[in-house]
């Protein structure tokens, strides 16, 4: 095994081009488990810890450019206002020790259907900035997950950053597990209200071969909210609307039975989380509407 230690992003891209089989290692919280248990013996490890750029984030007008290696701890501490869904999801990852090392770049690299960043990224709307010596491109998050633990990266590409839309409305993240820490999701659900475009986006984790959005549920809800004038009148969401939204979210799942839970439990739990998180976010939207009206 060789340990490659590029000191800059350009050196890292050159190393990856020269050795496409090299396995990048950022926080190591996925890679080292595989090596410790002899599940993986890469020819080359490509250490990304020396590339300072990957640990930085910038808050722009529309979105946050989040360096690939920014640890979850930093996201929780610094980006709660801009990226509330991702900050909540980050807080549910493993333990403080793991959150101090692991980040979204590694979560995307592993592309596990159970990765907690994914539902939040899908719901907020995001693009993954990837680069190789051939050039740079941005992959919309909806096109990033291509199969179980597979993603759209080419062999010579590295993830540089994730551009996540800044929240324009309330967001929530919910996860089912046996404990409040150190738990891989049985299933998870992310939701983001986008009052500016009058749309709602979702993300489902651990209930299909890849992280997915519940598109039919989103379309149904967008239409129902529009039709009822809900965005303007700020009324309580009709229980029948919430119920149908939840059912459509369940229907978007394509889960399996495994040690963590059965397929039917996952479908059921996603529906419950969908209804609850819709209620929470909508109540919060109504609250902010009332305050801004009161102020006017």
């Amino acid at each position: 095994m060789d340990f490659l230690r590029p000191a800059s992003w350009e050196e890292a891209l050159a190393a990856k081009a020269e050795h496409p089989t090299a396995v990048p290692i950022a926080g190591g919280t996925d890679v080292m488990v595989e090596i410790n248990f002899d599940h993986r013996r890469p020819e080359y490890l490509l250490d990304l810890n020396r590339i300072g750029d990957l640990y930085e984030w910038e808050v722009g007008e529309e979105s946050v450019r989040l360096g690939a290696s920014v640890p979850y701890t930093r996201i929780m501490e610094n980006l709660r206002a801009e990226l509330p869904g991702l900050a909540l999801a980050s807080h549910t990852v493993a333990s403080p020790q793991i959150r101090n090392r692991g980040g979204v770049g590694g979560n995307l690299g592993t592309a596990s259907p159970a990765g907690d960043a994914h539902p939040a990224l899908l719901a907020a709307g995001a693009e993954v900035e990837v680069e190789s010596v051939r050039g740079s491109r941005r992959i919309p998050i909806d096109e990033f997950y291509t199969g179980v633990k597979r993603n759209a990266l080419a062999a010579d590409e590295l993830i540089r950053a994730v551009h996540v839309k800044k929240a324009d409305g309330p967001q929530q993240f919910s996860k089912v597990g046996t404990r409040n820490a150190m738990v891989i999701a049985v299933c998870a659900f992310g939701i983001a209200l986008h009052p500016e475009t009058r749309t709602v986006r979702t993300g489902i984790g651990s209930a299909a071969p890849t992280p997915v959005r519940a598109r039919a549920a989103e379309e149904f809800l967008d239409a129902a909210l529009e039709e009822g004038g809900f965005w303007d009148n700020g009324k309580i969401i009709t229980p029948s609307v919430a119920k149908q939204f939840a059912e459509l979210c369940s229907a978007a799942c394509n889960p399996i039975d495994d040690v963590r839970g059965t397929a039917s439990y996952r479908r059921h739990a996603v529906g419950v989380m969908a209804r609850r998180t819709l209620t929470w976010t909508w109540e919060s939207y109504r609250g902010t509407r009332r305050t801004s009206e009161g102020a006017a």
Binding site: G27, V31, M32, V33, P96, Q97, I98, N100, N180
Partner: protein, 195 residues
Amino acid sequence: MRVNFTVNGRPQEADDVWEGESLLYVLRERLGLPGSKNACEQGECGSCTVRLDGVPVCSCLVAAGQVQGREVVTVEGLADYAKQRAEGGCATGACGSAGTSLDEAKGWQAKGDSQTGEGGELSPIQQAFMDAGAVQCGFCTPGLLVAADEMLERNPNPTDADIREALSGNLCRCTGYEKIMDAVRLAAARQSEGV
């Protein structure tokens, strides 16, 4: 490969390190510092917790090559680290002569009267663990000490929820955690009284 890094304030060099090796392995097997424990090698138990550039991490999940040029504090250096901190000094070794040598660290043991703590050489969190009876088999203790000490550095007046959260990555199979909670509360109370 060779890895040069700072351990408990002193520069160290590890030779013949396999590229896939963890920091935990280097500490225990190459530098002879078995304080950090290996219980799972998959980040689940926290018994291997050390500070890497000040940040608590599972040393079993850090590749040895990643610590080149960086600073590690293990449980063997905790007493000295806490002492330096209390004196307003620098405990990481970045500023010179402080720190715990490898021989001192290898031979480290709780000195003095373990009941009264007289004779010192324990960090306040270590003393509190002993006083509160928070140690049974002791396997989880080093990781808990490092994690708890870091929390008290950041958050001198933690709520119970803060303590539980900060220690949520450390498993203990013996104590049922209540005495560990007591120990951390005790250390926090003593810290705020300045004793």
